[in-house]
Amino acid sequence: MLQYIIRRILIAIPTLLIISFVIFAVLALAPGDPLAQFALNPAIPESTRELIRIQFGLDQPWPVRYVRWLTSLMRGDWGFSFGTRGPVIDLIWQRLPQTLTVVGTAYLIAVVLAIPIGIISAVKQYSIFDNVATFFAFVGFSVPSFFTGLVLMLVFAINLKWFPIVYNTTLQVVDWDTFTQQVRQMTLPVTVLVVQQTAALTRFMRSSMLDNLNLDYVRTARAKGLSDRMVVLRHVLVNSLIPVVTLIALGIPTIFAGAIITENLFRVNGLGALLITSINNSDTPVVMALTFIFAILTVVFNLIADILYGVLDPRVRYS
């Protein structure tokens, strides 16, 4: 087991190097211009924009830029953002709290909701509960998040005025009042994300439960006279959770990636909003850092999922 983990970590390093190279290449070759906003401004002629590109190092061929990026990363330097002309890493630390609060909470709630709903749906397949759950799950993922977000915003923020539209990132939770304020401003974005994430997880949980409910060992256990509840909880649940837990673990890196649309809609300005504005402004160092950190997390959680899988399902052998 330990040997397996060490080997996986050793493989992870070249993998990440290759990933970083590919991402860098994609970003370097993809069209875009950090100064596109000023393209037509006669006061900011092309000669000036060219100087700025040189300052950003964009005149160098991209493989050279990659080597530079990699060597400074070795020293712990993620480069500077074209937008702020300050260190990229500062930006990420500034944005992380908002993303963790909103997207993290939503993920947690989604997991807590989806597992029991999935279980009941499967155990009572085609019951009213199951049909209602199925219906809502499909509303959840056939309706895009910008649509849910807009509807919620119109109803609850604009007509009923229960929640604010503008998320205040500088709010500091010091007492009950600020705490309720924080909860109020989080409610709408969190709801949008919960609706989406619960939907997919519920379906996978249900399907996984159904697969196991039909197995012969369940019949055998029932035949042995074990109560239904016992059978479901003890055997079916444990086995059905295996793939779902893998999925949940694999989903954790996406928390870091933030929720681009929802964050932007409610002005949460977390990492998702940072990513999309940086992409739109071709702020390559920021996009590079965010994507690469996401890649690291993906690889790490992939490993965790694989280990979990082995722990939970003894039949899986590490080879």
Binding site: I11, T15, I18, I19, V22, I23, V26, L27, L29, A30, P31, G32, Y126, F135, F138, V139, F141, S142, V143, P144, F146, F147, L150, V151, L154, A200, R203, F204, S207, S208, L210, D211, N214, L215, D216, Y217, R219, T220, A221, H235, I242, P243, T246, L247, L250, L275, I279, V287, T291, F294, A295, T298, V299, N302, Y309, D313, R315, V316, R317, S319
Partner: protein
């Protein structure tokens, strides 16, 4: 645990054997497929889903031939005739009528009109053609890629697994928007040239981009199922009987992993329809005047207050499609699952 799970595992082998028998004896009247179809027909919701899907497709492709002449005649009657003599769907979706902007559902415009007075039903019909094709094709690409990669990785394990899974990691971490812009920038003109027409070229690019960026989660799910299934006794039995590896993978293990694949497939159709609209926001999808369902929802959502039907009708169509595909998927799972065929 050992007792129960052993029982479970042993209990599977008869079905595997049964399967083998059917595959070895094709002349037998009850084949795997006809068997599945028989069970599928019994699944009421699945049949309903199938019916709705076929209806949507039929209406999108045939409906305009009945609807457009009627619309043209009625528009002429209210003094807003088509500016060109051609009476076809293309003319209808481009027809502006500033006297009737943001009108609610009426006899002339059953789905209402948008901010330029264009008929929403005509646009939804046109959009249905594109969106249904995009959704289903992209799903097929994503699911086949995901299944093949996941199955290979899970079944062979070792170096193959490592390489494939690291490729999966790579794809998961690629920044989608710059990548899409890059792909289109590099391949749009060559593909359009190769396909002969801009429409076919753009369609190919759109479905390929969506499909190739969505197979990763399927691959992981399939791999996970394979990792656990390949250790089961029925696989050992099949191996012992000298069944070839691809046959074991696709004939014996895959049917047991079909449940999560079908869930992933149904999810993928809906998300492909929506992703298509995101692509056109990057300018890499269909031309901006192609009213796909995803685009209609996005454009319409601006008018949620003044004209909610603009987003609700196309939204409901996407929902109906996804829901139907899910029911079909449920039915397929029950029908194909080797364990339920006793």
């Amino acid at each position: 645990m050992s007792e129960i799970e052993l029982n479970g595992a042993v209990g599977l082998s008869p079905s595997a054997r049964a399967q083998q028998m059917t595959s070895r004896l094709p002349a037998k009247p009850r084949t795997l497929l006809s068997d599945a179809w028989r069970r599928f027909r019994k699944h009421r919701l699945a049949m309903l889903g199938m019916f709705v899907l076929l209806t949507l497709a039929l209406v999108s492709f045939v409906g305009p031939y009945f609807y457009i002449p009627r619309l043209a005649a009625q528009l002429e009657a209210i003094g807003s005739p088509f500016i060109q003599e051609r009476v076809d769907l293309q003319t209808a979706i481009d027809h502006l009528d500033f006297m009737n902007i943001l009108s609610g559902p009426t006899a002339i415009h059953p789905f209402g009109t948008d901010d330029l007075g264009r008929d929403l039903l005509a646009r939804a019909l046109y959009g249905g053609r594109v969106s249904l094709l995009v959704g289903l094709t992209a799903m097929a690409i994503a699911i086949s890629l995901g299944t093949i990669i996941g199955a290979t990785a899970g079944f062979f394990g070792g170096v193959v697994d490592q390489i494939l899974m690291r490729i999966t990691d790579l794809f998961l971490s690629l920044p989608v928007i710059p990548l899409t812009l890059l792909v289109v920038y590099l391949f749009r003109d060559p593909v359009i040239k190769a396909m002969g027409s801009p429409e076919a070229g753009i369609f190919t690019i759109v479905v390929t981009v969506i499909g190739c960026l969505a197979w990763m989660s399927t691959a992981r799910i399939v791999r996970a199922s394979f990792l656990s299934l390949k250790e089961k006794e029925f696989v050992e039995a099949a191996t012992a009987l000298g069944v070839s590896r691809p046959a074991i993978m696709f004939r014996h293990i895959l049917p047991n992993a079909i449940g999560p694949i079908i869930v992933a497939a149904t999810l993928e159709v809906g998300s492909a329809i929506i992703t298509e609209s995101t692509l056109s926001f990057l300018g890499v999808g269909f031309p901006p005047d192609t009213p796909t369902w995803g685009r209609l929802v996005t454009d319409g959502s601006q008018y949620l207050q003044a004209a909610p039907w603009l987003a609700l009708f196309p939204g409901a169509l996407i929902f109906l499609t996804v829901l139907s595909i899910n029911f079909v998927g449920d039915g397929l799972r029950d029908a194909l699952d080797p364990r339920s065929r006793l």
